[in-house]
């Protein structure tokens, strides 16, 4: 079976849980930016948690099904419509052959995950079906969807009922204004003054328009003041430059000391900007659901708190699993 793409949406890509193992040659993990929502969508339709789905950002695609399927939409509040009739998000529903799936305007969040029973069956490249658009790798022909594409869908093994839903408290979405992102100071933290470091964590930042799968840029906080230095050979003359180094996922670089950028799943693997620290793994999903202009605060945490948060996040997915079992 296949899904015909009538309208592609803004930047809809095929994603699964990613492609580890190639970061040392510049090929990033990729995969869903909100992995919790991606897993939830798959579980609702009876797929493996890491099956390939569609990630739609800000705006949904319009799709025509050539066969019957079970579908679920999770993540952002991007209400699905089946032949024009509304369907619930975070809930599985049947689609009949020939029916059209479209979407209403975005109500909340940023990225919706559209899972289809059987999973999107594009070729596995280096162990994953995820799209890495910058490298024209994986996904559907290495790029975002276009009108006229025909997406292959795998055979559905499981037979699960339609109408199963995921409770609100198991969805793991950002809550509270401003959104709090927990981060561990480190990496090149010593490059900025103590006052600048305090300001970074006490200021309220806003998501800038330049926010995509590579990274999220933030603006509105005070510029960071640097500790004076003699530029090391190879680093470059700007105080925010370093000898080009690796960038961790979630690392917070601040070019010129003005606008922090948090690298995400399609991260550039390295470069010459200093970093003040790293957003903890448990909060990376939240970033994927932030719209431009959303107020954000970075909250300083240590390793113990990061590991506790990681444990909590894994616990949430475990609860979600058992709620569907």
């Amino acid at each position: 079976m296949a899904i015909k793409v009538l309208k592609p949406g803004l930047a809809t890509t095929v994603q699964d849980l990613g492609r580890p193992g190639y970061y040392h040659i510049g090929i990033p993990l990729s995969g869903g930016m909100d992995r919790h929502a991606l897993a939830a969508a798959n579980l609702l339709v009876g797929n493996e948690e890491g099956a390939a789905v569609l990630e739609a950002v800000f705006m949904g695609p319009e799709l025509e099904f050539t066969d019957d399927a079970l579908v679920a939409v999770t993540g952002a509040e991007l209400p699905p419509k089946l032949d024009g009739a509304p369907r619930e998000t975070w809930s599985s529903f049947k689609v009949k052959r020939g029916q059209k799936l479209s979407f209403d305007f975005l109500k909340q969040g940023a990225r919706a995950y559209i899972a289809v029973s059987g999973g999107i069956d594009v070729p596995v490249v280096l162990g994953s079906r995820s799209t890495y658009a910058l490298g024209a790798l994986g996904g559907f022909r290495g790029r975002k969807l276009e009108a006229g594409d025909a997406l292959p869908v795998g055979a559905s093994s499981a037979s699960v009922k339609e109408g199963r839903t995921i409770a609100k408290d198991l969805r793991g979405l950002p809550a509270g204004i401003p959104t709090e992102l927990r981060a561990m100071p480190g990496l090149y933290w010593h490059r900025i003054t103590e006052q600048a470091g305090n300001g970074f964590f006490s200021d309220t930042w806003k998501v800038a328009p330049e926010a995509d799968r590579i990274g999220y840029r933030f603006k509105g906080g005070k510029p960071l003041e640097f500790v004076p230095r003699e530029p090391p050979f190879g680093a470059g003359s700007d105080p925010s430059n370093i000898t080009d180094a690796c960038y961790p996922y979630g690392s917070i670089q601040v070019p010129g000391g003005t606008e922090p950028i948090v690298l995400h799943r399609d991260a550039v693997s390295g470069g010459g900007y200093f970093m003040v620290g790293t957003v903890i793994a448990a909060d990376m999903d939240l970033i994927g659901q932030l719209q431009p202009n959303t107020p954000v605060r970075f909250v300083t945490v240590g390793m113990d708190e990061a590991l506790a948060a990681r444990h909590d996040r894994a616990g949430l997915l475990a609860k979600l699993r058992s709620s569907l079992a």
């Binding site: 580890p20 193992g21 970061y23 040392h24 040659i25 510049g26 090929i27 490249v125 890495y132 910058l134 490298g135 024209a136 790798l137 994986g138 290495g142 981060a183 561990m184 480190g186 990496l187 933290w189 090391p232 050979f233 190879g234 680093a235 470059g236 003359s237 430059n241 370093i242 000898t243 080009d244 180094a245 690796c246 961790p248 996922y249 979630g250 690392s251 550039v268 693997s269 390295g270 470069g271 010459g272 970093m275 620290g277 790293t278 957003v279 903890i280 793994a281 448990a282 390793m303 990061a306 590991l307 990681r310 894994a314």
Partner: protein, 291 residues
């Protein structure tokens, strides 16, 4: 050199071997990352060497962050004692310097450059006290370069010239990054050279272009069938200046699947290299040309 360690969140350990770039710092990061790979530590998922630093990604559900840190510190101390010799590969990469495609692009972004009244190669020649374009090409292509890091985007090599620090070409990045760079541009920023593996944004000075693809996700290029990225950290590159006719012929050969890059296995000793750099580089060139 005292390696500085830092946690990058709960999934990475970042290690800065030295603040400054040097072959010694690069070798140490390459040695340690090789040792980490060989140690097959449970829970380690990515091992990334960089110019003068490295990074290890891990799953803290499988190994405690402090335990991994202890292990890396042990490997770091062991690397100090090891003889700086590697078995690697040397590549000859043809370059059409001062080519029409990077020229068209650099003219489009002239207002973002330090010197809008000359080209990137003329500017780099002047600030490095080299004798015009020809003098620059000679300085750029006469000694080999180490692939000191692969990344930024898929398969992009950072290159570090194998000459004394005072002879190294240095050039600042553009004042504001370009939104476009031709694929396979030979670029330079700070003390690092690079080859842009894909078309896209970039801030490095642009000196020329190679006809030889270095990244092919479709794996149709004959020499990229085994793996889609050509370079690994530790590889050695020697530029070969070519003219337009040779460039066009190479493009035809690549498209026809008969382009055979010159690649040789070689052993490199940092100690011997430092003893007489020019003599050692001549020896490397000899390996490339089979004598």
């Amino acid at each position: 050199m005292q390696t500085r360690f830092s946690f990058g969140g709960d999934e990475h350990i970042f290690a800065e071997v030295d603040e400054s770039m040097s072959l010694e710092a690069f070798f140490k990061s390459l040695f340690i990352t090789n040792a980490v790979r060989d140690a097959k530590i449970k829970g380690v998922t990515e091992i990334c060497p960089a110019n003068a630093s490295y990074q290890v990604k891990f799953d803290p559900d499988q190994i405690k962050p402090d335990d991994l840190l202890t292990e890396l510190k042990r490997l770091d101390r062991a690397a100090e004692k090891s003889e700086p010799v590697i078995k690697t590969r040397i590549f000859e990469i043809p370059v059409l310097y001062n080519d029409p495609w990077t020229h068209e692009t650099l003219m489009r972004f002239r207002e973002r450059h330090q010197d809008p009244n000359c080209t990137d190669i003329e500017y780099a020649a002047r600030i490095n006290n080299l004798d015009g374009i020809d003098g620059f090409i000679k300085a750029h292509s006469s000694a080999p370069w180490f692939v000191s890091m692969v990344g930024f985007v898929a398969g992009l090599p950072f290159l570090y010239q194998m000459v004394e620090r005072q002879r190294q070409i240095q050039a600042p990045k553009y004042l504001r990054p370009r939104t476009d760079t031709p694929k396979l541009t030979v670029g330079h920023g700070g003390c690092f050279g690079c080859i842009y593996s894909v078309r896209g944004a970039g801030g490095y000075q642009m000196f020329g272009i190679t006809p030889m693809p270095i990244y092919d996700p479709s794996q149709k290029i004959s020499y990229l069938r085994d793996f889609m990225c050509l370079f690994r950290p530790g590889d050695i590159v020697k530029w070969k200046p070519i003219d337009r006719a040779a460039y066009d012929a190479a493009v035809v050969d690549v498209d026809a699947g008969r382009f055979a890059p010159v690649i040789r296995d070689v052993s490199f000793s940092l100690t011997e290299f430092n003893r007489d750099i020019d003599a050692y580089n001549r020896k490397l060139e000899g390996v490339l040309h089979g004598h």
